[in-house]
């Protein structure tokens, strides 16, 4: 009899454990962080840093990460595989909220779950519109746009103008141009940058470039036409004009190191990772803000039960700067110490 009672008590104990664990896990909030790129990319790491800041102290929320790795490889075959894998991760994990960073995450995964009854989407780091993903007017979508920090870039160029001997107040013209590849993302940047009021700087236009040879020619050609070159997308440059579709694009580091070394005029990146690739300086949207804002939006959805459609889309407000010391020294340019401290604090200062 005593054995039976003991067995029943043990069974009850185990059953309680199982039921409690199941109950807790089934109701535990669950976020899937879907990155278009991977962690070898500083942008992704900084997005995660901002995200963790937003989720600080919220270990109760189960957070999983999925990296689509579309920066290193973006041929149609890889995009198809990345899309299937990301959607499988979503279907298997049934997250309450997907935080999707950058365009491919929206295009290849997020857009498949628009108006899903159980899954909410928070997009971030999208530098164009979200109409193509059917996010506008969707019940389950909110997020934050990434807009190039043109005002900050203008301030920075104005500041550097004196260092190259230009006196804007004294009537000198400071001419700028933007270089980018043929991708949709670069095209959106061109449109956005082109629509900004750059005066008193003189924006001479954007150059859309398909291959590395054309890039080199354009850089040399701009020597006498502009005082600063801004660079945007350059990750999809073919090696030669007649390079086949199977040939790999020129590595971004090679493009930027060549540009920095050979450009007669200073090169300013409009994405923070341009300096990591080799550019002298870049002013870009803060990935910390993108990650942090996305995390806060996800928390409002999970903790306060706010419908995503009630949370208005946000736009980036903050920026970060990055420097490459060796490039600055080569051009004999001095930057204010406060800039250097800021870059160092955000891990964006390169020797």
């Amino acid at each position: 009899m005593r054995n039976k009672i003991t067995a029943v008590l043990m069974a009850g104990f185990f059953l309680t454990l199982v039921v409690s664990a199941l109950n807790i896990n089934i109701h535990r909030p669950n976020i899937l962080v879907l990155h278009s790129y991977d962690t070898s990319y500083i942008w992704t790491r900084d997005l995660n840093a901002g995200l963790k800041r937003g989720l600080d102290g919220q270990s109760w929320i189960q957070t999983r990460y999925h990296y689509m790795n579309t920066k290193k490889k973006s041929d149609p075959g890889h995009l198809r595989r990345a899309s299937i894998a990301a959607r499988k991760a979503i279907d298997d994990g049934k997250p309450d909220v997907i935080i999707a960073f950058d365009d491919y995450a929206q295009q290849l995964a997020g857009s498949y779950y628009v108006n899903h009854p159980d899954i909410k989407i928070v997009f971030a780091a999208v530098n164009g519109g979200v109409e193509t993903y059917n996010y506008i007017g969707a019940d389950n979508v909110t997020g934050i746009y990434e807009r190039k920090p043109v005002a900050a870039i203008k301030e920075t160029i104005t500041l550097l103008s004196k260092a190259i001997g230009k006196d804007i107040d004294g009537g000198d013209q400071v001419r700028i141009a933007l270089l980018g590849d043929t991708t949709l993302s670069a095209k959106r940047d061109e449109d956005y940058v082109g629509s900004y009021q750059w005066a008193p700087l003189v924006y001479t236009g954007a150059f859309t470039i398909a291959d590395f040879e054309q890039w080199k020619t354009t850089v040399f050609g701009l020597a006498t036409k502009v005082d600063f070159i801004m660079v945007g997308g350059y990750r999809k440059l073919k090696r030669l004009p007649d390079s086949g579709p199977k040939e790999e694009f020129v590595p971004p580091g090679e493009v930027m190191r060549w540009t920095e070394k050979n450009s007669p005029v200073p090169v300013i990146g409009i994405d923070i990772f341009n300096t990591e690739d080799g550019a002298m300086m870049s002013v870009g949207v803060s990935p910390f803000e993108q990650g942090n804002t996305a995390a806060n939006m996800a928390r409002r959805i999970l903790e306060d039960g706010v419908a995503p459609s009630k949370i208005p889309f946000a736009t980036s407000q903050q920026y970060v700067v990055a420097f490459r010391r060796s490039a600055l020294d080569r051009r004999k340019l001095q930057i204010p110490k406060i800039f250097e401290a800021f870059a160092r604090a955000t891990d964006n200062y390169h020797d």
Binding site: L22, R64, D92, G93
Partner: protein
């Protein structure tokens, strides 16, 4: 006509057989004989070789010891000398009137003796008889044979010389060469080289070089302990531990043997069904017993029972039964995540998101087409290669009585079935419960321990702790390679390999398969998998080729062999199988050679399926 039922009851009545598990006693039943003797019939004489022990069922015997003592036996055992390990009988037993005995072969008794005090019981039975009746009976010394001191093979001597020299040479060559990314990489490569030499020359059991590597990493400060020992806290480690626990319960409970008997009972009494039964039993064990050697250890006695039961036909059918056992137990090792140590290793090397994707069920799904194709080709090959005109049949009465000895399913068997059921349901409902499979498996293990379905002793003895150390050490080793940047360096210096893997996967797979086949002529399976996986999986990750696919192909192809020495599980079967199994039949070597091509064909035929899954 043999009365199996009477024999079964007589055996079960003997106290010294009570500690023998029911499944072993049932199996033992197929190996005994019942002998009837007339007045004056000689059971054995003192000059005979002691090859059987007898249990008296009916009648009396006169027993005369070698010292001249005489006694009369009307119940209990005779010829205990066989059971206690003597070479010759020390007495002569003669029938008084009509008698009936159960004759139990020496080798069958020695297998039973592993489970309890059988030998002690027999010794007591033997010594009691003569202590009472023959004061001149000499005490028999049962000292083990003195082992001959053997010289170590030359391989071991050379191996240790290489293990000492390889790291030294690597260090001297690479330290100032500036080839590797940093000094830590030089040290790590030196440590790795010593471990690889130990594996290649088989100087030590596999897990010891792995442990050495982790120890070296910590002692040399190449990576912090939490990196070097990360394998010991990985979910892969706990998944493997839990599967081992469940597997131990299944083995201890005798569930696998019951399933085999049921298959024989329900199927037709012909050779096709016997082969299918053995194959299916092995196949059923594949996902739940996580080592091929473990499965072979369970299957070999079943195969021996079958060979004995089918009598003379075993000479012709033996090689095919061997092929069925080996095929069932090992052919689909790569198809189930939980069926091999190396599969866990591959799983442990995958990035977290790929681990989340290739959980147990999806691993099986992704590998299923390969499995089905290999199964079909294997069935075709065994049918064509082992055709013969024998027509064996196993007595259904024997099977029925063996099942009777097993009795109804006991609590441990039910717990094994329940554990398996819960695990399967958890695989299917992972999206609902959101708990990672390793922790569900651990909960099952906890319940088995809590309810003592798995005793503390079985937990210590039946779980392959050396493998778990091996697995965890290798995961830590690869993590340390990542920590010092060696993995990136290796993949970065294999650009031609990257290009081939990325641009021409079919050619890469063919080259990989052939390379593995050649390397496996010298290296054991685990070492080959470790070397290929540590180089190729980081490379695949680096260029966005699905790392599971590369890992799966490595474990699938590394499991191929032609010669017995290439596969420890085949050697194990060789040592356990009866002569009629025909383990040295050349057709088996040809079959193993053909499996290489079957697997390769299955890989290529799976391409469309993998494309649909987004794996390629």
């Amino acid at each position: 006509m043999v009365d199996w039922h009477q024999a079964a009851e007589a055996l079960a009545d003997q106290p010294m057989f009570r500690s023998v598990p029911a499944q072993d006693l049932a199996r033992f039943l197929s190996r005994i004989e019942i002998l009837d003797l007339d007045e004056g019939g000689s059971l054995h004489t003192s000059a005979d070789e002691a090859d059987k022990t007898y249990l008296l069922l009916r009648g009396r015997f006169e027993v005369i010891g070698i010292g001249g003592g005489v006694t009369e036996i009307s119940k209990g055992f005779l010829g205990e000398e066989a059971a206690i390990g003597l070479e010759k009988y020390l007495a002569t037993a003669t029938s008084i009137g009509e008698t009936q005995v159960i004759a139990m072969p020496k080798d069958a008794l020695s297998e039973l003796a592993e489970h309890g005090p059988l030998v002690e019981g027999m010794m007591q039975s033997y010594s009691r008889r003569f202590a009472a009746n023959d004061p001149h009976q000499k005490t028999v010394a049962l000292a083990p044979d003195s082992k001959q001191k053997k010289n170590l093979p030359l391989r071991v001597t050379f191996g240790w010389a290489f293990a000492s020299l390889a790291p030294l040479l690597l260090y001297l060559t690479l330290n100032d060469a500036g080839i590797l990314p940093n000094r830590q990489s030089v040290y790590l490569l030196a440590i790795l080289s010593a471990a690889v030499v130990m594996w290649v020359f088989r100087l030590l059991p596999d897990f010891i070089p792995a442990l050495f590597a982790v120890l070296g990493i910590i002692l040399f400060g190449l990576a912090p302990p939490d990196v070097a020992l990360s394998g010991f806290s990985s979910n892969t480690f706990f998944m493997a531990l839990s599967i081992f626990g469940l597997s131990a319960v299944i083995t201890v409970s005798g569930l696998s043997y019951r399933v085999m008997l049921r298959l024989l009972q329900v199927g037709p009494a012909n050779k096709a069904w016997y082969n299918i039964s053995l194959f299916l039993s092995g196949l059923a064990l594949t996902p739940i017993v996580p080592t091929a050697n473990g499965r072979v250890a369970i299957m070999a006695p079943l195969a021996n029972d079958m060979l004995r039961a089918i009598g003379p036909a075993a000479q012709q059918e033996g090689p095919r039964l061997t092929a069925s056992v080996m095929g069932g137990a090992t052919l689909l090792s790569a198809i189930f995540l939980s069926s091999k140590a190396t599969n866990f290793l591959i799983f442990g090397l995958l990035p977290l998101q790929e681990q989340a994707r290739f959980q147990w069920l999806y691993w099986l799904f992704a590998a299923s087409v390969v499995g089905i194709i290999v199964l079909v080709l294997y069935a075709l090959a065994t049918w064509l290669m082992f055709r013969n005109d024998s027509n064996p049949a196993v007595s259904k009465d024997l099977v029925r009585d063996q099942l009777k000895i097993l009795g109804p399913m006991n609590l441990t068997e039910w717990s094994a079935v329940l554990g398996l059921g819960v695990l399967l349901i958890s695989f299917l409902t992972v999206a609902v419960h959101r708990i990672d499979i390793p922790w569900i498996a651990l909960a099952i293990l906890f319940s088995l321990l809590m309810f003592q379905c798995l005793s503390a002793r079985d937990f210590r003895q039946r779980i392959d702790w050396s493998f778990l150390i091996y697995l965890a050490s290798l995961i830590g080793l690869v993590a340390a390679m990542g920590h010092v940047g060696l993995d990136q360096w290796i993949s970065g210096n294999l650009t031609w390999l990257q290009r081939l893997m990325s641009d021409d996967l079919p050619l890469f797979i063919a080259m990989l398969a052939v390379t593995i086949f050649v390397v496996r002529l010298a290296l054991p399976i685990n070492a080959a998998v470790v070397i290929f996986a540590t180089v190729l999986i980081p490379t695949a990750i680096n260029i966005s080729v699905n790392p599971w696919l590369i890992g799966f192909i490595i474990v699938l192809m590394a499991d191929c062999f032609v010669w017995p020495h290439q596969a420890s599980y085949f050697l194990q079967f060789q040592s356990m199988a009866r002569p009629e199994a025909g383990v040295n039949d050349p057709r088996l070597a040809w079959l193993h050679f053909l499996i290489f091509f079957m697997k390769l064909a299955a890989i290529y035929l799976s391409f469309p399926f993998w494309q649909s899954l987004g794996i390629i």
